[in-house]
Subunit: 404 residues, 2 copies
């Protein structure tokens, strides 16, 4: 079953709009064991669109086309597909009445241009669009099932679930499992995983690296994937923090919530990102009480009780300062745990002794305070992200090891 | 000049990763008057990739291929392109030494698999990658200039600017100007701009709305675009905060730096995002001193001196609490200005009287404290972003109006 997706719209090729249809559609297909073979983006250019659609019609078993069904002069997906499939456009009275009614209800005069949306290629099935004026269209051309869907996500999504998915087969014996890891670069993840899974035939193994984390992707029959997951978990013991679309910050909020424990954070170089990531998680207010963004030395002294002598003798980016930040945040907020980060994000501010990318991460608990030192080499924003990733992972390891 | 982009990676076609390369590359091309004719996404499938690259090689004048240059078994872009262009892969000693050095510096043992990244198609130019192990590659095949770039954005972006753009022509009589606005929805931006620019022939006018801001895009000859910009600036007076890829937080840091003024922030519902955005800007440490992420009521009292009576009578999400947060942050940190945000991010926590999306934004200065109320309707993370946008814009308007 070869499925292709064509997204139309000049705004996509000008880079001003992100193509969220690809993510959405790919995930919905994946849940049914289906995959996209190819995705193409084409602008509002009639010749280019004709070429792209024509090629795909001859390759694909299912062709999904989004966008270009509107009433304006740059909407001609309907036209192009009707022409290529040799199906003249005909006015559909039900659709015309539906569109007229939408305008009437909103108290608007219907522009004549909108009438084009009532045109349907001969023999095509109309897919109703309760959230807009442009209906979707479904037709079969030779061996290819063709779906035309409107561009706005809030129109496309309900139509996709209600009218497209039920017309596609389910592949029951194919599943996809994502294991999310942090703490190892991609090449070392593979060095551990690949040999462990080497003799599993029928398994598709993939990796996806992002700053501070690497996904391991297992695709195959449910039996093989379950076996592969077992082996990968052994090979990557301690480095897997979640599955699917888990986020490290969500894991932290979940683990803290389960234990009834609370957290505060003290941030210098990450400037609030650690608190931001944690508070992105709904329900975080039960476990996250306070964040201290102590960018200046004065703020470290006043907000966290870091000693002036410590700053003078060791500097703001040092093990002792990080330790006092973590302990100060924990004591002042009255939480069970506090994380602290101090480092040099760059691009300026580094010295020979303390280069850009140096960062200390501290974790204070009732029993002890642990501080680790890392040397990173990233641009400013990636540095901030990876530093918060290291902090969250330090807490994750502490929480998960303390239960075993 | 026909330019095509191919993005490789199964994670894109499985819907787990958003294709940000398309946006980035399209915008960078647009600034030089260049446009993409087509974009294709293909997974880590050797046959499919071979077909996609082969077709594009015959159509395009410039072919950009991203991803698949890594060390793992699903990386074979280098292989496929070398094969299609009839250029055997050869080991490049400079690249090999560079990769070995990267591992050495990080104190890691280099897996043998990484050596594949030192292979270069015969006659290809190596494009150095300071942020990763996989170099980019440039070669000419028949009439097509082919660029292979690594997948991670932080590796691709600097390489694209340093090594790809200088190898592309500039279209001299075509320029693109982006005016960045905040404070008006897209339809009202258009209502002001479109009539003002109506009689300018040869101007391509576009809009791009993102949460909390709208870009106005002017494309045409330098003369027309300059004229259009003048008119648009009059029509949108007060709403334009920058041009090109300016960011509102960068404007704030610039304006504060120019005045020698300092800032602190107090955040409840935005949980550190406001501090994070400001500290993303290099040089922000000169003006940004402290952030108070007071998620709990206790933290609002203890860290900012909000009165218990205020919280009891008015609640944490109220005008008086926001005022006390802003004033407390300013007094405790000793800054010229303090911004405060308190609201209900959702999806839970709303009431009939104080629904999800309600937010108060406060600005305290030496002379006065201003608090504004907004009712937003977004998901949790978008809500956080738009609330920080409103706070930054409140300060921007204060700073720019106080100088005129």
């Amino acid at each position: 079953m070869r499925i292709e997706l064509i997204n139309t719209g000049s705004e996509l090729l000008l880079g001003f709009t992100t193509n969220t249809h690809l993510n959405y559609i790919a995930q919905k297909l994946g849940e049914r064991g289906l995959r996209l073979a190819r995705q193409t983006t084409v602008g509002d250019d009639r010749d280019e669109m004709r070429a792209v659609v024509n090629e795909a019609l001859h390759r694909a078993d299912v062709l999904l086309v989004t966008g270009g069904l509107g009433p304006t002069s740059d909407d001609f997906t309907r036209d192009v597909v009707a022409e290529l499939c040799g199906r003249p456009l005909q006015r559909d009275e039900t659709v015309a009445a539906f569109i007229a009614e939408r305008f009437r209800r909103r108290g608007l005069t219907m522009p004549a241009s909108v009438e084009v949306q009532a045109l349907v290629p001969q023999g095509a099935t109309v897919l109703p669009n309760p959230n807009g004026t442009a209906p979707g269209l479904f037709l079969t051309h030779q061996n290819c099932r063709v779906f035309l869907l409107p561009g706005p996500p809030r129109e496309l999504r309900p139509m996709f679930e209600e009218h497209v998915l039920p017309r596609l087969p389910v592949i029951p014996d194919k599943t996809c499992r994502i294991l999310r890891t942090t703490g190892l670069p991609e090449s070392l993840v593979e060095q551990r995983v690949a040999p462990a899974l080497a003799n599993l035939t029928g398994l598709e193994l993939g990796y996806c690296a992002r700053p501070g984390e690497v996904d391991v992707r297992l695709i195959g029959s449910p039996t093989i994937v379950a076996d592969a997951e077992q082996r990968a978990r052994t090979a990557l013991a301690g480095f897997i923090y979640g599955t699917g679309d888990d986020r490290l910050e969500a894991v932290i909020v979940r683990e803290l919530t389960a234990r009834g424990h609370t957290l505060a954070v003290a941030e210098s170089c990450t400037g609030g990102l650690l608190a931001h990531r944690i508070t992105n998680i709904s329900g975080s207010s039960r476990v996250f009480l306070a964040g201290y963004v102590t960018y200046s030395n004065a703020a470290k002294i006043q907000m966290l009780g870091v000693r002036e002598a410590t700053l003078q003798h060791h500097g703001a980016v040092s093990e002792p300062t990080c330790r006092e930040m973590a302990e100060g945040a924990r004591l002042r907020s009255g939480t069970d745990y506090a994380l602290a980060i101090t480092g040099i994000a760059g691009p300026t501010g580094g010295t020979a002794e303390k280069p850009v990318g140096l960062v200390f991460i501290g974790l204070a608990s009732a029993r002890t305070t642990e501080v680790v030192r890392h040397q990173l080499s990233f641009d400013r924003e990636t540095f901030k992200h990876v530093a918060t990733q290291l902090a969250l992972d330090l807490l994750r390891r502490h929480l998960t090891s303390s239960t075993t």
